[in-house]
């Protein structure tokens, strides 16, 4: 029962991943692509937590922590670069 619900949740997360990836590939402006990048990192953190639940190893959660910290840095740097874009 629990495993079935978790597989359904993983399928929903995979659908969200595909939609965000499409937005990253299509996005008309660079800011749209940065938004897609941000959403893809958040979805990947959820995927890491699901992998940790399936494998049953607590050490995988540290990867999610580092991932959240550093991808946040990347989004901030990209946004600060695009701010001075067209002037």
């Amino acid at each position: 029962m629990v495993e079935t619900i978790l597989i359904a949740a993983a399928a929903l997360v995979a659908l969200a991943f595909v939609l965000a990836m499409l937005r990253f590939l299509r996005g008309p402006h660079a800011v749209d692509r940065v938004i897609g990048f941000d959403v893809l990192t958040i979805i990947s953190i959820t995927g890491i937590v699901l992998v940790a639940l399936v494998e049953g190893r607590a050490i995988y959660l540290d990867v999610a922590l580092v991932y959240a910290l550093l991808s946040f840095l990347g989004v901030i740097v990209a946004a600060r670069y695009l701010e001075g874009g067209e002037e």
């Binding site: 540290d62 991932y67 550093l70 990347g74």
Partner: protein, 86 residues
């Protein structure tokens, strides 16, 4: 459960190849740098599926965070000195 890990690896591999294609074909350099950071990010999840959490941690910190930061730093300095390829 035995089919779940290859499926996830195939999905992330396809996403990595798509992001790498985007990094090669994008017109603007900033978008190409973002796509390369996305390749590193997905590679980190792929390392996690391949049971290497230490490599995944290092790849997420260095490949995605620091490399993107370095590229945008150099891009910002180059733009400040007047170069208008974007």
């Amino acid at each position: 459960m035995t089919l779940l890990a290859p499926l996830a690896a195939a999905g992330f591999g396809l996403a990595m190849i798509g992001a790498a294609l985007m990094a090669l074909r994008a017109r603007s350099t900033a978008v190409a740098v973002l796509a390369a950071g996305l390749v590193s990010l997905f590679a980190s999840v792929l390392f996690l599926i391949l049971a290497a959490p230490d490599v995944a941690m290092t790849e997420a910190a260095i490949g995605s965070g620091l490399t993107t930061f370095l590229f945008f730093y150099v891009l910002g300095r180059i733009r400040r000195e007047g170069y208008d390829d974007d």
